[in-house]
Symmetry: C2
Subunit: 332 residues, 2 copies
């Protein structure tokens, strides 16, 4: 119809006279005509909407700016390109990978690292591009991945603690992240890092229960320093330590992960590994848009794309030299 040609730039082989075009615009205005995006999307099979799947986004953390940072990264490239962002629960509750292809989205950013082999396999049957965050390279064959360099990150943390004189370290992870690809990757990276320094260490699974923690209590247990999977986890650890009378960092050094502004507000301020969340999200989204808008044939190679991002270590007040037995004797 001429109307379509006038109101949107579509169908350039259709020419409309200026008078007619003006008339159409006037009438449209009078009638408060509003083009229906659903019909348009159905016709074009393009919705200009991308879905974002979080890990547990029935609830965002109030204090951890992880999600705002991630969303900022996503929005800063999505909105200028004319896309809308949808947070979709159904895709989360059951990892209903098939539902991705129900036509609602032009692409999906998958920020949920607890994928299973079969979930990844089913992802290859989707009709739209999918890009993953928090997926270590190689963990999701055929899906572009964007992930922190966990190996380097844990090396930074372990080296820092080793340099301080700690000899037996722990890596603490919660039941939720324990089974995620990134959780396993960081645990492995921790093991490699301590092996590289010739230290002893363990991966500790903690469900936030204070009594459990007591086994690792610095005084009785073997560990003088704990690296945590996340700032949130480290924060809870701090609270539990205070409750149990374990002094940080005097008796136990603690390292977080993310180095969010949350680390500045804890007591003591939390030493933490920094990962560029916003940048990762930005580049993952940019890649997703490329896949959506590019010629399907020309990007075949990029399907296997995978990026890793180097991390830093922000040393604050929750880490210090351990109370060694020699020092103890010394002080006695």
């Amino acid at each position: 119809m001429a109307v379509s040609a006038v109101l949107h730039g579509t169908g350039r082989n259709v020419k409309v006279s200026d008078e007619k075009a003006e008339m159409i615009r006037r009438v449209a205005q009078e009638l408060r005509y509003q083009p229906n995006r659903l019909a348009r999307s159905l016709r074009n099979s393009r919705t200009q909407m991308i879905g974002v799947v979080f890990q547990h986004f029935d609830r965002l953390s109030d204090e951890n700016p992880y999600y705002p940072q991630l969303l900022n990264g996503v929005m800063s490239t999505l909105f200028p390109s004319g896309y809308t962002l949808a947070l979709c629960p159904k895709l989360v509750q059951r990892s209903d990978a098939a539902a991705i292809s129900d036509g609602r989205f032009d692409g999906v950013l998958w920020c949920r690292p607890d994928f299973t082999e079969e979930a990844v396999a089913s992802l290859r049957h989707t009709s739209i591009p999918v890009v993953m965050m928090h997926a270590p390279p190689g963990s999701a064959p055929g899906v572009p991945t964007f992930c922190a360099n966990n190996r380097g990150a844990l090396k930074l943390a372990v080296d820092h603690l080793a340099d301080l004189g700690h000899e037996r370290l722990g890596f603490v992870i919660d039941p939720i992240n324990e089974h995620t690809a990134e959780g396993r990757d960081r645990a492995d990276a921790f093991r490699q890092a301590i092996a590289g320094r010739g230290l002893q260490g363990d991966v500790l699974y903690w469900d936030y229960d204070g009594s459990e923690l007591e086994a690792y209590r610095m005084g009785n247990g073997p560990h003088t320093a704990l690296a945590c999977f996340s700032d949130t986890l480290a924060g809870r650890l701090l609270v539990t330590c205070r409750r149990l009378g374990i002094r940080v960092p005097r008796e136990l050094s603690i390292v977080g992960f993310d180095s969010s502004s949350f680390c500045e507000s804890t007591s003591p301020r939390l030493t933490s590994v920094f990962q560029p969340v916003e940048r990762i999200a930005f580049e993952a989204t940019t890649h997703l848009i490329r896949l959506i808008e590019a010629d399907p044939d020309s990007v075949r190679d990029d399907q296997a794309h995978s990026s890793i991002y180097d991390c830093g270590l922000d040393v604050r007040d929750s880490t210090s030299a351990p109370i060694t037995s020699s020092k103890r004797h010394h002080s006695c």
Copy 2:
């Protein structure tokens, strides 16, 4: 079609034999059949999606948990009801109220208080329900509003400062919020509150410029205490004060608004008015869903619904008694 009846519960007057139903399911599985939501939505004019319009959500604050809280409130009622949440930029850039009715959304939560008279008027022509946050009662005729009790909130802040002995107060607002309905409402509430205590005070417009601030500097200027429109604004004020050598709260008391966890991490910790953001968002969204799902005729009355939410005052370290001239003499 029988398929539709089997795979979804639709069309109850259509009966399908069990064998056929089973066959349909099996074939659907084999073919990886995925119903197209766009076509469905087009047919039903129901998308199960609601749009959320923020004020400036091209960028969420990293440190202020306002947006996570708001989203938590929205999601906690939206997701269990089977809705998806969309953050839409186009509706923000130009307040294109008409675009609301383009079929994408079943309803819109408007969290953007800088509406004009005509924007509100055009909102009444939408074909879908709209609910507003940050709109003081009466500011958006015909649109349900959910808003903090600014009158009570500013009274709390002013009373607190007055009780400490402050005699000349300021209310600081930034250029962005200055023209919003809630901004004007809080400024009015401030004026009423100081009048009620027989104090003097001014509404100060601050564009984050340090030199501007100097005019209100406690030493030269008349104000010994400033209440701010937001925590973010108060935070910037703190930073500027430090830069200018103004000691808080010794020389100048500062009160924020929102009482987010951000207030705990500032130095000094920020005294702030608490508003129940998550609860406001939750109830606004719940109301929106009611409007969407209810019989259009039966909710006519609720179109004029408006709720206000009482606030509290969390006293922290950024407020104290002023240095009065008498005290000055005393100390000299």
